[in-house]
């Protein structure tokens, strides 16, 4: 565990003060190995997104430490955090957040631009099943295709860590499975570590690691020995 790619040590975070003070994360300690898919489960308000934001360097922790590779996030200033995100991180959000007046390919290029060593665009578009839609604008494609585009945008940098916040939350069943399958492929193809925040308990079966939060506490941190294929998931 000490040699994990993503290591979190005694991580704490709260919002508000006084009576409104809410301990969102309480002494979370865990570690993920490189190339693992991890699902972070828990009900609303359990601290899943906060955990993801802290790992993504989007907000600072109250205490504790986060290591991604050799980088200790909690010691980085804002500028270094930007560089960290630029170099190591890919984000996928529930609502895609695509730029409306850029085509699919251009949306992906937004992050290709940031990388010194991006993945080949054509291969990625093909892998994502977006080759035929590459010149379409977001409003011209389906939600699933938009999410693929968002994933492509995150992957094009060839990040070592892909953080996905409810990537299927806005998608229907089939599309969700397609997206999960895609993530599985990406993990296998590019070897990136993937953290998927989800309400959907079924997704845990495709993960190598399962983390579960409840009221800010890590209540489950387990290895999945019987990993299912994403396409076989049922819920």
């Amino acid at each position: 565990m000490d040699n994990g790619f993503l290591r979190v040590e005694d991580l704490c975070k709260h919002y508000g003060e006084g009576e409104a003070r809410l301990e969102v994360l309480q002494s979370i300690t865990t570690s993920l190995n490189k190339g693992e898919i991890c699902t972070l489960l828990g009900p609303s308000g359990s601290g899943k997104s906060t955990f993801l934001n802290l790992v993504g360097g989007l907000e600072p922790a109250d205490s504790g430490r986060i290591f991604v590779g050799d980088t200790e996030l909690t010691s980085l200033n804002d500028k270094d955090l930007v560089e960290y995100r630029r170099r190591e991180l890919g984000f996928v959000f529930q609502f895609y957040n695509l730029i409306a007046d850029l085509t699919v390919q251009e949306n992906i290029e937004v992050c290709q631009y940031l990388s010194d060593n991006p993945l080949p665009m054509d291969d990625l578009l093909t892998s994502l099943g977006l080759w035929d839609h590459r010149k379409k604008f977001p409003h011209q494609i389906s939600g699933g295709q938009q999410q693929r585009c968002a994933i492509g945008r995150a992957l094009i940098k060839n990040p070592s860590l892909l953080l996905c916040d409810e990537p299927t939350g806005a998608l229907d069943y089939n599309t969700s499975k397609e997206i999960l399958t895609l993530m599985e492929q990406v993990n296998q193809q590019y070897g990136c570590t993937i953290v998927i925040v989800t309400h959907n308990d079924a997704i845990k079966h495709m993960a190598h690691r399962i983390l579960r939060l409840r009221d800010g506490q890590l209540v489950e941190d387990s290895m999945n020995t019987q990993i299912a294929r994403a396409c076989d998931l049922e819920w």
Partner: protein, 1128 residues
């Protein structure tokens, strides 16, 4: 691994962003184009004009100053002025009414250097006759006032204030004239070849000029506004000017300092010395203006410079507002794209990269806008903007002078300002964390919208309030945008009303229907004789030609005025032309005159001469004989021995005998021998001699023997005379017949005559010499002498008096004698004028008009203004305490009353003293203001006439003005000004003509600014609310109801902004106008007519109606599907 160069993919957004928000960017673009084009066009033309004006002093030898006097100053006064260190140039002019020919209404712009010639020798002109031009409109507009035009006419100006010929050439014949360009072309549509009439003489326009000292046509330097409608300047040939010279001639002098490097203080000192010098030499100074204070020279450049500042400020304010609009719109975009930005930040995009991205399009639009605006302004608007000035100011031909500063001010600075404000706005907006962006916490609208609203409010009201609160920053910016546009609109529409109000109020301060300002006190009451006396005096000085022709004589008469006896003599003698002519001729012959004088003193001799002169033969004889001095001496010597003359005469009568006597005297031996032979001698010697005689000799001897006793006695007598006597007798005997006759005549005169002749013969040498002169006179001289000799006693005394005068007096008398008879009569009449008394008006007036005419006194002083460094020129009135005209000005009991305008402008305290300065004399006065009265345009000081005279150390009965009910007929010689209330209107007419275009342009600018601002800022509100609008539609709201929810709050806000900003606008406008008008003489009450407020709101709402119409269409086009689209 090296990073692959990769083009920023966000760049691809830009054209799409532009296309998708075309209205927004087009609005911004147009605003920049609009603002930059107008400003750069204006500033380039204005700076070019400024440079052209800067070149003028050297190019056209502009004076350093000028002064004019009521009456022509003496040479001594002018020399004293020159001694102060200035060079003077006579720059006289006369002002006369000008009548335009009815056919004079051509169009055409003759100003452009490309179209015109600027040399005096070029006769051609760019006549664009037939093309309709603004000038034609101006002509028709001003047609009604062409009967009230004054032209100031100069003879050719050759050394200072040289004219520039915009077209045509200098007048060469007496019937040609060159008129000012602005008056002629811009305001009255005249062209070369047209005719105008001055003093009943027709002049053909041969040139279009600009005088460097009349860049702005100020008839009166103290006036608030120039007057190119009813006043102009012109030049005519010398002959033409001589024909026009009248009593209206102004004795104006231009001066230039000998030392060109004087400081302002040194100049002022010299000018004070000049004023003193004029005052010391009794020159009545009328005006004294340093070039720096001459509005004709300085007004245009001050206006141009002021306008440049104003336009630059306007541009910057506009750019500032636009920058804030940019910030607001960009903020709206950022808020709309908050999640995308959050995602990008989360993905590793730097804030700086995102800021740059969001800056690119606005700045690109701004850059292209200002660049295109610059090109349009420079290429397309410079000439139009030039017209704004050339329509008002008479300046040399225009040429654009490039100035990079204009590019910097209109393009670089606004762009940098825009960039800086946009950057600051973006940096401020981008301070949120990625997570805040992802959570849409970068928006203020949520915070504002989260404000609780009173439950009592109805749902629609609360909804609308939410719309306002959500878009608070937009509406705040909109408020200021509307305020700015309204300020522009109101400024443009209020300048004229302010001036119109000022003139209307000023008209009220003109207390009587007619005011006459006099150069000296002139009494209206007088007898007919007195009027005739003063009329004569005026005729003497007003008929310039006659005056000039007789100027030396008039001066002589003035010098002789005190020599009463001489003048009386002259007067009596002058009627006797014959005598005077004789006297004159004699006086020219000094020698004769002296001789005559001396002889005239010898009455006996004079009488003798008189008698002799009646006997012409005798006088002729005397005259002839007197030429032979030897003969006369001989006659004189022989006079006492008449027996000799008788003997000589008798002997000369026996010439044969005398021949033989002579022969016998020559041959005594022969005669003796023959005598002895005849007596019987036979001496052989005798016989030999006798026989040698010829028969003729023998006969001669025979004749000699017959000589009688008388002859013998005569011969003996003759032999006894001395040699002198003999010589005399020889002379007498050798006389020619005439001489002999003369002598005979004289010898045969009667006793009296003889006595007379003897008297003449006995005179001393001097007298003889005199007589010689007198006897040698020609006929004319003789006649003269006759005349003078027979004078009666009085006449003789007069002649004596005149003869006794010294040379100077004699020269004066000669001059007077050559004087025009009418003039002389006038001079005689005028000589009775009492110089210590006031002048009496020579013109008869209606008794009632005289009765209603009220005397007052007026003077100009300067008082320090409350703001600015310039002094306020004020008028001090000395009025009657119980004036029938100044009824509301209580000046009794030593009260000094200040007009409210004066109190306002100088912030003078009632009850305290103000210090006033007389720029013409250098005197300072401390005047205590007891009250203020009249209106806010009134900057006069009032006091009783007696207090006035005491203050200015005048005679107690001094006055220099009449206020009256009806028009008076006054001697123009003494009248400086005739003021009627309607004269005040000229100011506003001129302002409307010259500044109207700028005002209308300003108003025209305000409307599009207003439209674009309102459109841009409210469109964003609609855009931001698009999803909500879609929801409303989904919920079942009718479009009209949706409009009510979204358009109505915007409408209310626009209306509210229009109304609520008014007090602020009024405050700003008032402050602005106070600053604008502070530099002018006079106090301008800042008024904004109520209808302008209404017009402002109506124009604003009409403009908004256009915007609202677009928004209604926009709302109608919001798709229902938008409500269904996924959004976090």
């Amino acid at each position: 691994m090296a990073r692959t160069p990769f083009k920023n993919p966000l760049f691809k957004r830009l054209p799409r962003e532009f296309k998708n928000n075309l209205g927004k960017y087009l609005g911004m673009f147009l605003m920049f184009v609009f603002a930059t084009a107008f400003t750069s066009g204006f500033l380039l033309s204005a700076s070019s004009i400024e440079k052209i004006i800067d070149e003028m002093p050297g190019k056209y030898a502009i004076e350093d100053g000028r002064f004019s006097c009521d009456f022509e100053p003496s040479t001594e006064a002018l020399d004293a002025v020159k001694a102060c260190g200035v060079s003077l140039t006579e720059d006289f002019y006369c002002e006369l009414p000008l009548i335009l020919s009815t056919s004079s209404s051509h169009g055409g712009d003759v100003v452009n250097a490309d179209e015109t010639t600027n040399t005096q020798d070029t006769a051609s002109t760019s006549n664009t006759q037939g093309t309709e031009s603004p000038a034609s409109e101006a002509n028709s507009a001003s047609a009604q006032s062409t009967t009230d035009i004054t032209v100031r006419i100069y003879p050719p100006r050759l050394s200072v204030n040289l004219p520039e010929y915009a077209a045509g050439r200098a007048p060469q014949s007496p019937s040609e004239i060159a008129l000012d360009r602005v008056f002629m072309v811009e305001n009255h549509g005249l062209d070369i070849g047209d005719t105008v009439s001055i003093n009943n003489r027709d002049f053909t326009i041969c040139g279009i000029i600009t005088f460097p000292d009349y860049q702005a046509l100020f008839a009166d330097n103290a006036a608030f506004m120039f007057d190119a409608l009813s006043f102009c300047v012109a030049t005519v040939s010398d002959e033409g000017y001589q024909a026009l010279r009248t009593s209206h001639e102004t004795f104006n002098y231009s001066f230039t300092f000998n030392d060109k490097k004087l400081s302002l203080a040194e100049r002022t000192t010299i000018e004070e010395d000049m004023i003193d010098a004029l005052s010391t030499h009794n020159a009545t100074l009328n005006t004294f203006i340093d070039a720096a204070d001459n509005q004709g020279i300085g007004y245009a450049i001050t206006d141009v410079q002021g306008d440049q500042t104003m336009w630059t400020v306007l541009l910057f304010v506009l750019i500032l507002i636009m920058a804030f609009v940019f910030v607001v719109l960009t903020n709206a975009t950022i808020e709309a794209e908050s999640s995308v930005i959050g995602t990008m930040l989360a993905s590793g995009w730097r804030k700086s990269e995102i800021i740059v991205h969001y800056m690119v399009l606005p700045l690109a639009v701004g850059f292209v806008g200002v660049s295109i605006g610059l090109v349009i302004g420079v290429v397309g608007l410079t000439d139009t903007m030039r017209g704004l000035y050339y329509h008002s100011y008479s300046l040399p031909p225009y040429r654009t002078i490039w100035d990079w500063k204009i590019v910097f001010i209109t393009t670089v600075v606004p762009f940098l300002l825009l960039s800086a404000i946009t950057l600051i706005g973006l940096v401020r907006k981008m301070h949120f964390t990625p997570l805040q962006f992802l959570r849409h916490e970068a928006s203020t609208k949520k915070r504002n919208a989260a404000m609780s609203l009173p439950e009592k409010l109805s749902y629609p009201v609360r909804f609308r309030l939410r719309v306002l609160l959500r878009n608070a920053s937009h509406f705040v910016t909109l408020f200021f945008g509307i305020m700015f546009a309204s300020l522009l609109l109101l400024f443009g529409s209020c300048m004229l009303p302010v001036v119109q109000n000022y003139t209307a109020e000023l008209m009220k301060t003109v207390a009587a229907p007619h005011h006459y300002v006099l150069k000296i006190p002139v009494e209206l009451n007088g007898t007919d004789d007195e009027r005739e006396m003063y009329a004569a005096a005026l005729r003497v000085i007003e008929d310039r030609d006659r005056y000039n022709d007789n100027k030396a004589a008039i001066d002589a008469a003035e010098r002789l005025e005190d020599n009463l006896s001489l003048m009386d003599a002259l007067e009596r003698l002058q009627d006797n032309n014959e005598l005077m002519d004789a006297l004159e001729r004699l006086q020219n012959n000094t020698e004769l005159s002296d001789a005559l004088e001396r002889i005239q003193n010898n009455s006996e001799l004079t009488d003798a001469l008189g008698r002799l002169q009646q006997n012409d033969d005798v006088l002729d004889a005397i005259q002839r004989l007197q030429e032979d001095r030897e003969l006369m001496d001989a006659v004189e010597r022989l006079e006492d021995r008449p027996e000799l003359l008788d003997a000589a005469e008798r002997l000369s009568a026996q010439s044969e005998l005398m021949r033989w006597v002579s022969w016998a005297q020559a041959n005594p031996l022969h005669v003796a021998a023959a005598t002895r032979v005849a007596a019987g001698s036979t001496d052989p010697t005798d016989l030999a001699y006798a026989s040698a005689l010829s028969a003729e000799e023998r006969a001669g001897l025979q004749l000699l023997s017959t000589i009688d006793a008388q002859t013998q006695a005569d011969m003996e007598l003759m032999q006894s005379i001395d040699e002198q006597t003999r010589a005399d007798l020889d002379l007498m005997s050798s006389l020619d017949e005439q001489t002999q006759a003369d002598l005979d005549l004289i010898q045969n005169v009667d006793e009296q005559t003889r006595a007379d002749i003897e008297l003449f013969q006995d005179v001393d040498e001097q007298t003889r010499a005199d007589l010689d002169i007198l006897t040698k006179l020609d006929e004319q001289a003789e006649a003269d002498i006759d005349l003078l000799i027979h004078l009666d006693e009085t006449t003789q005394a007069d002649v004596d008096t005149l003869r006794d005068v010294d040379d100077t007096t004699q020269a004066d008398i000669d001059l007077i004698r050559e004087m025009d008879q009418d003039l002389l009569d006038d001079l005689r009449l005028a000589a009775d004028i009492d110089e210590d008394a006031h002048v009496i008006n020579s013109q008869p007036n209606d008794p009632q008009a005289i009765e209603h005419a009220e005397k007052y006194a007026v003077a100009s002083l300067e008082i320090e203004r409350a703001m600015g460094s310039k002094m306020e020129s004020i008028t001090v009135y000395g009025i009657q305490p119980n004036s029938r005209y100044w009824t509301d000005i209580p000046v009794a009991d030593g009260h000094v009353v200040a007009g409210r305008g004066l109190v306002e402008k100088t912030k003078a305290d009632i009850g305290s003293s103000v210090e006033a300065h007389n720029v013409r004399t250098g005197d300072n006065y401390h005047i205590e203001i007891a009250e203020c009265a009249s209106n806010e345009s009134d900057t006069n000081l009032y006091m009783s006439l007696s207090d006035f005279n005491a203050l200015f150390d005048n005679d107690t009965d001094y006055f220099n003005g009449y206020a009256c009910e009806s028009e008076l007929v006054l001697d123009s010689r003494y009248t400086a000004q005739h003021i009627q209330p309607s004269d005040m209107l000229k100011m506003s007419n001129q302002l409307e003509t010259s500044m109207g275009k700028i005002m209308y342009m300003m108003m025209a600018m305000a409307v599009p600014i207003y439209l674009i601002l309102v459109y841009l800022l409210t469109k964003t509100v609609i855009d931001r609310s698009a999803r909500s609008i879609a929801y409303m539609k989904v919920f079942g709201y009718h479009t009209k109801e949706v409009d009510g929810l979204y358009i109505r709050p915007i409408t209310y806000w626009v209306l509210l902004s229009l109304v609520v900003s008014l007090p602020l606008i009024v405050f700003l406008l008032t402050s602005l106008l106070i600053i604008v008008f502070m530099n002018y003489s006079g106090n301008f009450p800042i008024i904004i007519p109520p209808n302008r407020y209404v017009a402002l709101v109506v124009v604003g709402m009409i403009a908004y109606a256009v915007v609202a119409f677009l928004h209604v269409r926009h709302i109608k086009a919001v798709p229902l599907e938008l409500a269904m689209k996924v959004q976090e």
